[in-house]
Symmetry: C2
Subunit: 388 residues, 2 copies
């Protein structure tokens, strides 16, 4: 397999923003082009990960519109959609285009503009990614499914409400130091446990927000990286895994494990030739607090039922053996769905390059992993990067 | 670049159909799996090309839903959207996944279900792929843009209304022999020239219909093809080109040429190491009759301003030096947008394998080309296949 490198990245602030979908994508893309010193190169492809640009912003054919606005015509444009994993799926497509030889330099942009529509409308648009027959028509929502998972995990492994609150507390602590995060304010176990219930036992602070934002990375072949003299400041993509699960949660074998994570992370590890103990820093899809726990166990960072031990003992904090969501995760960084996967990869890339935000930089990490969920575990992409 | 093969295909009838989006996609996919003898293999990836499943059918996360319904979980699922070129863009992604080594067997499905919504709604949904600032807000539609192109071509090259009618007449003649075509009825120059004007000089018969339908192909690596013993009945993908153009037609240098076609076909020819004279059979994106003429010239099948000479002299008919749209093209086969690109590739594949519909089979073609447009020339994908 021909090697592929991340050579630069850009990102907007995440949050409730006034800029348009296109403006956000432009800002992240231009940031990535400048950061990767590729402004004078000819891009072969632009891949845009975005879940619902038509519905949220009334914009179709987003990839070619962006190619136009960025002045990179006739660069081939493609939009990729896999629900909230659209960003990492776009990255996978970018990887395969470079590795296959179809492209030498590809721009991958993740973007979502969710806060222009009324709150109820956003939920309605997003609910289309779930099973209508088994979930939506009975009032099922992502938060309701996460609540089922949390209940079952509490039953099986004795997790308490206050223990679970440690996850958002860590996320907010990290987010408070991330200048691009949606939430930059610390919180406490008391606040998380006692805030408004969204779906019992989950409260408002267990749930990632609805956000606007965009992130972008530039991918290149080894030859381009060498020509640009960027081998020392790039990160190699050494593993990609991608798996699905049955669409309706009730058709799955377990509530406390997402099998697509197990499959995707195993595939990524196999490709990289490493195991979970090699991970120094990771960005996991904590759309709901309980998912950070489940994800750690499915990936193999923690034994089954034991993830809470690591969190309770601070082992997933900055400076611990494995830093989990050092830039705030979906909970604090925010969750503009199509942008999230690319933002995770950008944050991992900056960690490996030593350019993470001040106070959030892990000490010389070698291996970074990202994990991005589409639907409620319907689709999962795991990516592993290695520092130069 | 690692070789990639098309080893099987499936397709539904195109037309105004009662089956749901999912049902259509299932039918085409199962057809392709059976045809490729891969029912017992483990698919790595499913790539779905579909333009607007959320808006037309209220379905999100289509790729994982299909993986579920086809029983191929945990196969990684991705939806690709590039307007009406979504099908060939999905094929490009499938190609790169196999060629990069990320996948050994990939199922590519193109599908669109457009006829469930009211006529005005469909146009409104599709118009999002155009430039709002420069086109849609002034009442611009794809047909209006095609009319501008036709007018200009008539002015520049002396094309007459009745000559232009020869294009739909050929499409309908071929479609009348294609059991899966939307329209299976011949027409005449008189009928085309004198039917209802959609956007002068174009009439109803110059425009492809709004259709439902799905097509699918199975892609595999050389190793899998050899293991299945299918080398003699597969087609190798020897060229792929993909290019964009400025979003608004008024920003382009020419009205009578789509530069993205020039760029994409040149890239595909470069990759294949052949030129336009090598093409035995091709499926071109004739969403409007004038486009078949423009496309032939942009690809290099005809000299600039001379495509009509080939058509008038029957040289693009079955049995001529290059058969153009032998299965009816978008005009007669129909145009369920996301399905079209995959249907073109399927039809090209069947020609190379010698399995085209009776009376439509070209005599032992070696090289087939497909050409698929997204937006009004915003995005173009050209694919070249070679018989075993």
């Amino acid at each position: 397999m021909e090697p592929v490198y991340v050579i630069g990245s850009g990102m907007t602030k995440f949050g409730v923003l006034k800029e348009s979908l296109i403006k956000l994508a432009e800002e992240a893309a231009v940031g990535a082009i400048v950061d990767s010193q590729t402004a004078e190169l000819r891009f072969d492809r632009i891949i845009v990960g975005s879940q619902n640009p038509d519905e949220f912003s009334g914009i179709g054919h987003l990839s070619t519109m962006l190619a136009d606005r960025l002045g990179i015509v006739p660069c081939g444009g493609t939009r990729v959609e896999t629900g909230p994993s659209s960003g990492s799926s776009a990255f996978e497509v970018g990887f395969s285009l470079i590795s296959s030889g179809l492209s030498d330099v590809t721009l991958v942009v993740g973007v979502e503009k969710m806060c222009d529509v009324e709150r109820g409308t956003a939920s309605k648009i997003l609910s289309r990614m779930m099973s209508y027959q088994c979930e939506t028509r009975y009032g099922g929502t992502p938060a309701a499914l996460a609540a089922l998972v949390a209940r079952r995990y509490m039953h099986d492994y004795g997790l308490t409400r206050d223990e679970l609150s440690l996850v958002p507390v860590k996320a907010h602590r990290n987010g408070s130091k991330n200048p691009l995060a949606h939430f930059q304010k610390e919180t406490t176990v008391e606040k998380v446990s006692n805030s408004k219930v969204v779906a019992s036992p989950l409260t408002l602070f267990d749930c990632s927000p609805t956000s606007d934002g965009s992130a972008a990375v530039v991918l290149a072949s080894r030859q381009v990286v060498q020509e640009l003299g960027l081998l020392d400041s790039s990160a190699q993509v050494i593993g990609i895994g991608h798996a699905t699960d049955y669409h309706a949660v009730q058709h799955r074998l377990s509530l406390t494990s997402l099998n697509a994570t197990v499959e995707a992370s195993q595939a990524a590890f196999d490709m990289a030739g490493i195991g979970p103990t090699a991970i120094d820093v990771c960005e996991l899809h904590d759309a709901f607090s309980i998912l950070e726990i489940i994800n750690m166990e499915d990936i193999g960072i923690a034994d089954r039922g034991k993830a809470m031990d690591l969190i309770r003992n601070g082992l997933t904090e900055l400076g611990g053996p494995v830093s989990v969501n050092p830039t705030g995760g979906l909970k604090a960084r925010g969750h503009p769905t199509g942008a999230t996967g690319v933002a995770q990869i950008r944050d991992a890339f900056l960690q490996l390059r030593g350019d993470a935000p001040q106070d959030l930089q892990v000490d010389e990490p070698e291996i970074a992993l990202t994990h991005n969920i589409g639907g409620f575990g319907n689709n999962i992409v795991v990516t592993i990067l290695r520092r130069p």
